[in-house]
Structures are given as structure tokens and as C-alpha cells.
């Protein structure tokens, strides 16, 4: 059976829930359209520490979306760090970019939210719609959820102060951009 298109892992699902929250009186009527846009014309340009940027194309026009996400407070980051270290130790040999699903449950149990609730998301969009979040911001959240599904580690990176450990370039290769043309031939 194929996993769901948005929120295939608990990590992505946490983000999907921020827009499909069951606590609302009725589902947001913009959601079907937002999923279509996420599926077809949304490109996440940046998904990094504390913010997401995306371009959503509608009828040939590009809407630029930027969503700022509050980082976890220091003490939460420290707590999360401990839980992550413990979970990783229990799941050695995990594939690069993945996190064990038990960790998601752990974090939730310790009241550490993985995703940012809608009211705490600072979303900006170049469109002129009056409703916020607009359909483009919602599409961006869906697209972000897919990226998190592909690489659960992103869920933690979005909320944490960057550390050296998150950079995992392949040591077998050196990027051309890191090479100095002057010293290339060595003499």
C-alpha cells in the first residue's frame, strides 16, 4: 500500500496537522486547492533553520512565500538534543537523514512540538488575498511536509540553532566550488 502523499512519516504528518487541524470548526476550504498547488507548482527554495521560502506559480504568476518559524527555546533544544542522542543510540545504522519514529513520540510526550502551530507561523506572501494564511502559504506547508517526509532530520533542523554536526558532506568528494583555481595545479 502506498503511504499518503502528504505526511507519509509521523514527521511530515506533524506539519500536515498544522493546516488540517481537527480542532477547527470546519475544514479550511482552501486546502484542496493548496494540495493541488503543492503537488504541481510549488518549489521550496529554502528550508532551513527558522524559515521556509517557496515559489508558487498560479496562472503563470509566481507568488513568493516566506514563513518564519520560531526556534525551540534553548532549554527545549537541550532537552530535544538529549532525546535525539538517546534515540539515535538505540537505532544505530539508521539511514542518513532519517530519524526513528519513536523519537517523534518521545518529543511529543515531552511537550516538544515538532511543527509550528499556525498561529505561531509568520507567513508572508506576495499575493493580494486578504485571508491569511493564503492558499500559497498553505501549499508551502504541504510541500514542506513532503520534504520532511523525505528527510525527517529536516524537522529538527527547522527548529534548532545550527550545529556543525548537521553538515554531512560526503568526505569522498570535494565540490568544485571549494577549490581554489590558483592552487589547482600546485605549481
Amino acid at each position: 500500500m502506498m503511504p499518503p502523499e502528504f505526511g507519509a512519516t509521523p514527521w511530515g504528518r506533524a506539519w500536515v496537522r498544522t493546516v488540517e487541524s481537527t480542532s477547527m470548526a470546519r475544514p479550511n476550504p482552501l486546502l484542496p486547492r493548496a494540495r493541488t498547488l503543492a503537488r504541481n507548482t510549488t518549489t521550496v527554495v529554502v528550508a532551513g533553520v527558522g524559515h521556509v521560502e517557496a515559489e508558487v506559480t498560479v496562472s503563470g504568476q509566481v507568488r513568493r512565500v516566506r514563513i518564519d518559524l520560531p526556534l525551540w527555546p534553548d532549554e527545549t533544544q537541550a532537552e530535544a538534543g538529549r532525546l535525539i542522542a538517546r534515540a539515535m543510540a538505540e537505532h544505530r545504522g539508521l539511514v542518513a537523514g532519517d530519524l526513528p519514529d519513536t523519537l517523534e513520540a518521545d518529543l511529543t510526550q515531552h511537550a516538544i512540538s515538532i511543527a509550528v502551530p499556525p498561529e505561531a507561523q509568520q507567513g508572508e506572501c506576495t499575493c493580494r488575498a486578504r485571508t491569511r494564511p493564503c492558499v500559497h502559504i498553505l501549499a508551502t506547508i504541504y510541500a514542506l511536509a513532503q520534504l520532511v517526509d523525505e528527510r525527517p532530520a529536516l524537522a529538527v533542523e527547522l527548529r534548532s540553532t545550527p550545529t556543525k554536526a548537521t553538515v554531512t558532506a560526503d568526505p569522498g568528494w570535494v565540490a568544485l566550488s571549494d577549490l581554489d583555481p590558483a592552487g589547482f595545479y600546485g605549481d
Binding site: T9, Q146, V174, A175, F184
Partner: protein, 622 residues
């Protein structure tokens, strides 16, 4: 010095198993001036410094064979005016110029730090990065060590450069703590590379080769051909047994059906396990896949010619056997990659997966290694008889000799009838018994041909299949039409009107929607047909005159054609087909056999001699 280097450069290129000389305009003169080996000309993807950037380029080079290059570097004049990259590789050659290629980790570490980027300018697949110096030095040491081991192991084969790289790649797997998939396109010599790996492993534990039943004989034959001293045990049949101890280097060959449910195989500690035709373990729930994953082994190597990297579920299943844990659990893999890549073509997920899989998969296509290949690449595939075939074969021989073959004209007729019967049995019992449907599992050649043609079709290549029998052509056409999934497979034979024949040829040559497989009767295909779009030719049965076969092969090959043509010939091991094939190959035996009139020659033999030729040899059931 960022425009063009003024001095000769050197870079080790693992894929070519060679050191590339490059960087100066008058390359040949510069190489000769330094007394370095000229090697073969080529073009290599390398990083170069131009202006204020380092960028990828197609660089004209000379590839010097590794041994010759090392020797040349060792004798290089210390005052030579060469680039720092050449001096770096000279130092690397010096470090290996001892008895022990394992020595000097520290010295190599220091060398890695001072090598200029030009010395390790080998680009990755997308041309955005070059190999890190320590990585390339490690590959260099692996390549040299592999050559030393191959010489010591008395492997009687000349490896092409890409094959030598393949062996070094395979040999590096155990040290990396995981297996891998050798996924070269069909016809590039995967079996030979695997055999070289087995022969160069120094281990007390035995090796295991698992292959389809029809290929057991081929493995046995190839092992005997390339490493005659390797002890080989065929493990199949009801009375199979494994010995209590193994001489060093022993290779046990078995089949997937045996692997599925065999306790002794599961209880043995193996060194290398080779899983040939690894499509057999593409379904993770299949018994064979589970049994393969549970084998205790130092390293597991899967071999397949189909491009598995494009079928994610199959890729997961095979890597789950060779490199457990690499892709995570099946459920997680589907969540993270299959849904993303197959449903919505996510570029980020595809790139991430490629990064994870690339170090575990070696695939070269004919196009990749075209410079190393001759215009025609011949291979003979020895197929193992099915039990039913062997029974019919023995019965036919016994009946003929019991009844007596007579003398003179009568003898010729009876020998001919017997030979025809035996050849039909080798093709498929259904042909011999005049049935109108040929089922799988009853003929080694038939099963093997189906597997090979499936692979060719999956590679988007085109193939001609020759048989000398109309009945066999019809049986193949019917069977392939149902299993290949490319629509009805046409059969061009003498019974068709000229117009229809022309249509078939035209469709094969010009029509992109036409089936990529064309069956031909050897007789009808002798003249004038131009079928150069085929990149593979399969001779399903032997015409006992090599010249006729060659004429058919040349339907697909024209002088000046740039693409290599694979010519595969199927032979049923231990049978009359096999005996004749060996006589042809050895260019000895009865004169008429060599010149072509095999049947007359066989009719003239004494009963005893003829019986010896027709009797089922020990290779028949491997």
C-alpha cells in the same frame, strides 16, 4: 598559473584502471620527452582551472596502463619539468614499490594532504565535485593490489580496463563492510569479474555462487576456463551434499530453487556469496530473497544486467541482501523514497537516493566503455539441461544404438535422424515431441534465452534471434509474445512471402513501436537483409558450420559500425551441441567438422567413437 598548465599533468582514473596524462598542447611529445608510456588515446571528464574558476571539461588524454605508468613514474628523471600532479603520482608509485602494498598508511595520508587538486581531478557523475585525494589514493592502492593478486591467482584472462576496475571495486567491498551490486550491461563480462574476485580472495571459508538452474553449467565452465585450479563443487539434485571441510578457495555453485529451502547452505559460513541474475531476489517476500539475506557471509555481491536503479522496490530488495540497512526498512523506504520519486518525481528525493546508492552499485553500459570494446563481442553461454531433456536425450541415443545404425547410405540417414532428434531435444522437448506450446522449466536453453531476451528488452536494446528450425521459431515466437510484454514477436522464415519479409525487416529497422525482438530462420536470413539496428544477436541453436553463423551475425553488423555488437551463442552443456562447439573452438578434431560438413564426418565414425560424442557428458547435469 590558472589558464592552461604549461607542464604535463597526471591523474589516476579508476574507471579506466589507468593514469591519464594530460594538460599540455603537444601531449604525445611531452609524454615521450619524459620517457613515460604513451598508453591509449582518450577523452576524460576532468576538472580544470580556467581563469578564476575550476570547472568540468572534456580533456584529451593518454591513458597509460597502471603497471606501465607506475614503472614509467618510478624511472622518471628527478629533474624532469613536469607538473606537481605527476610528481605526486610518482611519489604514490614509490610508496607502493615495496613488497607489501598494504604498507604506509601514514605516508599515503601525508601524500593526500600535499597532492594538488589536478592530481585527483576525476569528476563525479554530475560534474560538480572531484574525488577527494585520500579516496583516490585508496582506489589506486586497491587497483594495484588487485593486479598483484590477479597475477598471483593465475587468472588466465586478459581483463579490459573497465573489468580490472570492476574487480578492484568488488575487492574493495569486504573492507568497506558491505556488499554491492555489479550491474554492468549484459555482455560486458560480469561473470569474469566475479570469478576474478573469488580467485583473489584469501580466505579459509568457501565461496558460494547462486544462479538460475540453467546457468550452473556456465559458471562451472567459466571457472574452469579462467581459474583452472579453483576447486568447484556443484550443489544440486536430490543427492547433494556439502563436504565437512573445504580446500582453500573452493567455490560451491548452486541454484535459487535449492537455496530456497536448504539447511546446509544456511548453516555454512561463507566468504563471498555471489547472487547471479539477482532479479531472482527482486521480491523481498520470496523465499529465495529471504534465504539469500539470511546466508552467513563476509560479503554478498549481486549481479544483474537490468537497470535496477530505476525500480525502487527491486532496488530495495536486492540492496537489502547485499547491504542490509542501507536503505532502511521497506516501509520507511516507501515513505521516504518510493512515494516521493514514483508518484511525484521529487528531484530532492531522487538525488538523495542516488547519493546513498551510488557507492553500492557499479553499472557500466556498452556506450560507457565503447573505447575498450571490439566491434563484435562473442560469448558462448553453456546452459544446463532440464531433467526431462536429459531423459529424452538418453532415451533417443539408447534407442538408436540398440536398433543399430547400419552402414553406408543407410547409416548416414540414421545418424542424421539421430542428430536432428538430439538437437531438437536440446532446443526444447516440445519441438522434439511436436507439441505446439513450449513451457518454461523443461529446457535450459529456452529458460536462459527467455531471461536474456527479457534483459535486452528492458535495456531498450534490439535483438535478432536465429534458429535453424521453423518449429522452434514458432514455439519461441508464441512464448516470447506472452512473456516479454512487447506484443507478438515476429518470426521471419522462408515460408513468408517476400513482401511480408520486407515488412518485418523494415519495421525492425525503422519503426520505434515494432517489437525489439526479431526471430529469424537461419536459412531465410542468409542473404541481403540489413538489420543493423540490433545490438545483440542470439544464436539459439548451432548450425554446424561457423561460416553460416557468421554470415547471419553479419546481418546486424556492418563494417564501420561504431556500436559494439554482442553475439551470444547458446549451447546445451555435455550434449552433441557442446562437443561440436568445443571442436570448433579448439580448431581440432575431424577435418570436416572444422570445414563444415559435420554430419558426414559423424556418419563415418565408428559406433564407439560416435557413442562417445553423443553420450551425455558429465557437464550435462553439472
Amino acid at each position: 598559473m590558472t589558464e592552461k598548465p604549461s607542464r604535463l599533468q597526471a591523474t589516476f582514473v579508476p574507471a579506466e584502471d589507468a593514469i591519464a596524462w594530460w594538460g599540455v598542447a603537444e601531449l604525445d611529445d611531452a609524454i615521450r620527452e619524459q620517457g613515460l608510456p604513451a598508453g591509449r588515446p582518450g577523452v576524460c571528464r576532468l576538472a580544470v582551472a580556467r581563469g578564476d574558476e575550476v570547472r568540468p571539461a572534456n580533456v584529451p588524454v593518454r591513458f597509460a596502463d597502471l603497471d606501465a605508468a607506475r614503472h614509467g613514474l618510478l624511472t622518471l628523471d628527478p629533474r624532469a619539468e613536469v607538473g606537481a600532479s605527476v610528481r605526486a603520482w610518482r611519489d604514490a608509485a614509490r610508496l607502493l614499490d615495496g613488497d607489501n602494498p598494504e604498507s604506509g598508511d601514514e605516508a599515503f595520508g601525508a601524500l593526500g594532504l600535499r597532492m594538488p587538486p589536478a592530481a585527483h581531478a576525476v569528476l563525479d557523475a554530475d560534474g560538480t565535485a572531484i574525488a577527494a585525494a585520500p579516496t583516490l589514493l585508496a582506489q589506486f592502492r586497491q587497483a594495484v593490489a588487485t593486479r598483484v593478486l590477479l597475477r598471483g591467482a593465475a587468472v588466465t584472462a586478459e581483463l579490459r580496463p573497465y573489468q580490472a576496475h570492476g574487480v578492484a571495486w568488488l575487492n574493495a567491498r569486504p573492507g568497506l563492510g558491505h556488499g554491492g551490486i555489479l550491474a554492468d550491461e549484459m555482455g560486458l563480462g560480469k561473470t569474469l569479474q566475479a570469478i576474478c574476485m573469488l580467485a583473489t580472495r584469501q580466505s579459509e571459508k568457501p565461496h558460494l555462487v547462486v544462479c538460475p538452474t540453467s546457468l550452473i553449467g556456465n559458471w562451472r565452465r567459466e571457472l574452469a576456463r579462467f581459474t583452472p585450479t579453483t576447486p568447484v563443487i556443484i550443489y544440486r539434485g536430490a543427492s547433494r551434499a556439502l563436504p565437512a571441510t573445504y580446500p582453500p578457495g573452493t567455490v560451491v555453485i548452486t541454484s535459487y530453487p535449492v537455496l530456497r529451502k536448504d539447511e546446509p547452505l544456511a548453516a555454512t559460513a561463507w566468504d563471498v556469496v555471489v547472487l547471479d541474475e539477482a532479479q531472482q531476489i527482486k521480491n523481498p517476500d520470496a523465499l529465495a530473497s529471504r534465504a539469500a539475506a539470511q546466508l552467513s557471509a563476509t560479503v554478498r555481491i549481486a549481479m544483474t544486467g537490468t537497470p535496477v536503479e530505476n525500480r525502487l522496490d527491486e532496488l530495495w530488495s536486492i540492496l537489502n541482501v547485499t547491504s542490509p540497512g542501507l536503505l532502511g526498512t521497506r516501509g520507511r523506504f516507501r515513505q521516504r523514497f518510493v512515494a516521493s520519486i514514483e508518484q511525484r518525481r521529487s528531484a530532492t528525493a531522487a538525488a538523495a537516493l542516488t547519493r546513498m546508492v551510488t557507492p553500492h552499485l557499479l553499472r557500466r553500459t556498452k556506450a560507457d566503455v565503447a573505447a575498450d570494446l571490439p566491434p563484435k563481442l562473442y560469448s558462448t553461454i553453456v546452459c544446463t539441461m532440464a531433467d526431462e531433456q536429459a531423459r529424452l536425450y538418453r532415451e533417443a541415443v539408447d534407442r538408436a544404438f540398440t536398433a543399430g545404425l547400419g552402414a553406408g547410405i543407410e547409416r548416414s540417414g540414421r545418424v542424421l535422424a539421430l542428430l536432428t532428434a538430439l538437437k531438437q531435444i536440446c532446443n526444447h522437448p516440445a519441438q522434439y515431441l511436436r507439441e505446439d506450446t513450449a513451457a518454461p522449466g523443461l529446457s535450459g536453453k529456452f529458460d536462459r534465452a527467455t531471461e536474456m531476451l527479457t534483459e535486452v528488452v528492458e535495456q531498450d536494446d534490439r535483438v535478432l534471434v536465429f534458429t535453424q528450425y521453423r518449429a522452434m521459431g514458432e514455439l519461441l515466437s508464441k512464448h516470447l509474445g506472452t512473456v516479454l510484454g512487447v506484443g507478438p514477436v515476429p518470426f521471419l522464415h522462408g515460408g513468408l512471402a517476400t513482401e511480408r519479409r520486407d515488412q518485418l525487416v523494415h519495421a525492425f529497422q525503422e519503426d520505434d513501436d515494432a517489437p525489439p525482438v526479431l526471430l529469424l530462420s537461419l536459412r531465410a536470413a542468409g542473404f541481403g537483409l540489413n538489420l543493423t539496428r540490433a545490438s545483440h544477436v542470439l544464436h539459439y541453436d548451432r548450425w554446424w558450420n561457423p561460416a553460416v553463423e557468421e554470415q547471419a551475425t553479419d546481418r546486424a553488423h556492418r563494417i564501420g559500425q561504431l556500436r559494439t555488437l554482442n553475439v551470444h551463442t547458446l549451447v546445451t552443456g555435455g550434449t552433441i551441441e557442446d562437443h561440436i562447439a568445443q571442436m570448433h573452438e579448439n580448431k581440432r578434431g575431424v577435418a570436416e567438422i572444422v570445414s563444415g560438413d559435420t554430419q558426414a564426418a559423424l556418419a563415418r565414425m565408428s559406433d564407439d567413437d560416435l557413442h562417445a560424442v553423443l553420450d551425455l557428458g558429465q557437464g550435462a547435469l553439472a
